[in-house]
């Protein structure tokens, strides 16, 4: 080789090109990652808005008004409606008739 500087010089240039190339690819990947992250973030933000909107729409006070309007024959359960299983089987309890009917429905008996 006529000049010993040429080889390192060429290598340096090649290395520079390789580094630039890698750097460029990294920056492209970074941009892609950034855009994906932004997409995720955007999706999360939209989800948050929808969730907040859902909560706003299912506000108990609003549901109460809607239930009164569209389900006039129905109401919330009352403590009197709550009985134990033993009470359900007790003869003197007025729920007996209903439980018989229930057992008929469950077992499929017909009187």
């Amino acid at each position: 080789m006529r000049n010993p500087v040429v080889v390192p010089f060429v290598l340096l240039i090649l290395l520079g090109i390789a580094v630039s190339r890698v750097k460029y690819e990294v920056s492209v990947l970074r941009k892609t990652l950034q855009s994906i992250n932004m997409e995720i973030e955007k999706g999360n933000d939209q989800l948050r808005v929808l969730r907040a909107e859902w909560c706003h729409l299912t506000n108990p006070e609003r549901l109460k008004i809607l239930a009164a309007k569209y389900l006039p024959d129905m109401g919330p359960a009352n403590p009197k409606n709550i009985i134990t299983y033993d009470q359900l089987l007790h003869d003197s309890y007025p729920v007996k008739k209903r439980s018989n009917k229930l057992s008929q429905l469950v077992i499929g008996e017909k009187k």
């Binding site: 750097k23 808005v49 907040a52 909560c55 108990p60 709550i82 134990t84």
Partner: protein, 558 residues
């Protein structure tokens, strides 16, 4: 020999040429070095420029993208079932770059035509200085408003992506959640307490022990009670036996979605954790628990309540007293002040103070809120002060402290620490009262619902327990004149593994209360309305089975 001069001439010329060539070589050598240095310099300059282009460009790209976003995003707060109580949603905020504005006067007049933006003068004063590069015009505009501004097509007017904190349930959790400022900094409530966590981990959720359904019922019934009994305020808490707060409401309250200037300071006052009140007769629960625990009294103990007790210049009397000898059970059911004093005198002030300390009534209210108050009690625990404390006067505690203390007695005797955080295991309940005492107090509170002042809130199928209390409010250190005294009425009770406290501030007598405004006529019916609505949601089969209705009937003389 003939000398060929021609050769000599040629040789001479050649020699001269060689001589000239050497000089030429020297000249060429210098020039070559110069051009090499020059080329390398240029090449280095190009490399350097390339480096700056590569690195600086990519940095600029990142900066540009972040520039368009103000990160005020915070973590969501959810209830125990995952309902979102507070969330950050994306909005746009409008700003102006005055250096890019062509005509500040014209721009401000066009912008001011939009009714949701500030007036022309305000905008002009903001944007008139062309040296500035950024001024806010309006934070958190709606998409519709954003479109209207964009339609104007004004140079220098732009938008930044911004986050706005929203509270989908408006007033419902106001005192607990608190609120944030326009830049998303927590100002009060949990927003302030967990500000750092919520900002650092915006994609996480903070799960609370609160239940939206129960909170809504409590809020609704307390609002009704204020209207019905013309009370100036009301508050209530529902807690389970482990200290998990299921619902907590303080009225009047505020809507954190609205500008806070619309409200008075009283709306921001959390009566449950910050307000301290003399509890009145509900404190007798503690008195009887101490007496039973220390075995200075039992269910057969008798107390003569025919004569009032003299305490210095004061006389302690009973409200609608029975004027006979009462046993322990009756004294509690009929809420006798005289009997309470006599019960206290048997165990004394030191034991009383010891148990008050154990139950957390002499410390600051424990809760994950920045707004918590400390109880007020006499610095010197004298016989006189301890005597009045036995029936709930002379000490002021927060409703949360009161509920925590009573729950710690009836839950089997375990000292609990109230919490708003779901699955909070930082405190392990420690036993402070024996199981027997706890069962007896539970039974006595059940008897109050069957035969005492809590009868109107009795729900037969469930076995609700409770105790009422009415205390007079102190104004400038006095209770005011007889007949014009303002009251605080309290009901504390529960069912299954849930406890409730309801407090009404200055309720008035109404039609059907026969001129009375004590707890039995307002706080108890309010509690009944709450029980009737929450029992179908919270009740389990065990709650139905654990009834002690007939246990204490033999002690009661009708």
């Amino acid at each position: 020999m003939k000398i060929n001069t021609q050769y000599i001439k040629r040789g001479f010329e050649l020699w001269r040429k060689v001589k000239d060539h050497t000089e030429l070589m020297h000249i060429l050598h210098d020039r070559l070095i110069f051009s090499c240095v020059f080329s390398i310099t240029i090449f280095c300059a190009i490399i350097l420029k390339m480096y700056f282009i590569i690195f600086e460009t990519s940095n600029n790209v990142i900066n540009n993208t972040t520039y368009n976003l103000i990160n005020t995003k915070r973590a969501d707060i959810v209830d125990r079932n995952g309902a979102v109580l507070a969330s950050s949603i994306v909005t746009a905020s409008c700003y102006v770059n005055p250096s890019a504005v062509l005509n500040a006067k014209k721009t401000s007049s066009i912008l001011a035509k939009l009714e949701f933006l500030p007036s022309e003068n305000i905008i002009y004063n903001k944007i008139k200085d062309p040296k500035k590069q950024f001024v806010w015009i309006k934070r958190h505009v709606t998409p519709e408003q954003q479109q209207k501004i964009m339609d104007l097509g004004l140079p220098g007017v732009a938008f930044i992506k911004d986050y706005k904190r929203v509270y989908p349930y408006d007033n419902l959790f106001s005192h607990i959640l608190g609120f944030v400022d326009i830049d998303g900094n927590g100002i009060s409530g949990l927003e302030m307490r967990f500000d750092n966590i919520m900002r650092k981990k915006p994609n996480k959720q903070i799960k609370l022990t609160l239940d939206l359904r129960i909170q809504s019922i409590l809020h609704n019934e307390l609002s009704n009670a204020i209207i019905k009994y013309k009370a100036i305020a009301a508050n209530g808490i529902i807690m389970d036996y482990s200290g998990n707060i299921i619902a907590i409401v303080s009225l009047p309250d505020f809507n954190p979605n609205k500008p806070l200037q619309e409200y008075e300071s009283k709306n921001f006052f959390n009566r449950n954790t910050l307000g301290v009140y003399e509890p009145g007769s509900v404190f007798k629960i503690l008195n009887i628990a101490i007496a039973l625990e220390t075995k200075t009294a039992d269910l057969n103990s008798k107390y003569d309540v025919t004569a009032p007790v003299k305490l210095g210049r004061f006389t302690i009397n009973d409200f609608r007293g029975k004027n006979r000898i009462l046993n322990f059970v009756e004294s509690f059911i009929y809420s006798s002040n005289i009997a309470s004093v006599k019960i206290f005198q048997q165990f004394g002030k030191d034991i009383q103070k010891h148990y008050m300390k154990l139950l957390g009534l002499l410390d600051k209210t424990e809760l994950e809120l920045p707004e918590t108050g400390k109880s007020i009690f006499p610095k010197r625990w004298t016989d006189a002060s301890a005597t009045t404390i036995s029936y709930g006067y002379g000490i002021s505690v927060t409703p949360l402290q009161l509920l925590t203390a009573v729950t710690s007695i009836v839950n089997g005797g375990f000292r609990i620490h109230p919490t708003l955080l779901f699955n909070n295991t930082s405190h392990i309940p420690a036993r402070i009262i024996s199981e027997n005492t706890s069962h007896l107090v539970h039974g006595l509170m059940r008897a109050v619902m069957l035969y005492g002042t809590g009868r109107t809130a009795n729900i037969q199928s469930i076995g609700v327990i409770g105790k009422t209390g009415t205390s007079y409010k102190t104004v400038n250190g006095t209770y005011g004149k007889e007949g014009s005294r303002a009251r605080i009425t309290t009901f504390i009770g529960g069912f299954g593994r849930y406890m409730l406290v309801v407090m009404l501030d200055d309720p008035k007598p109404i039609d059907g209360t026969f001129g009375f405004a004590t707890a039995a006529w307002n706080a108890v019916p309010t509690a009944k309305c709450i029980f009737e609505r929450i029992i179908p949601i919270l009740c389990t089969e065990n709650d139905l089975a654990n009834q002690q209705d007939t246990l204490l009937i033999k002690y009661i003389k009708k």
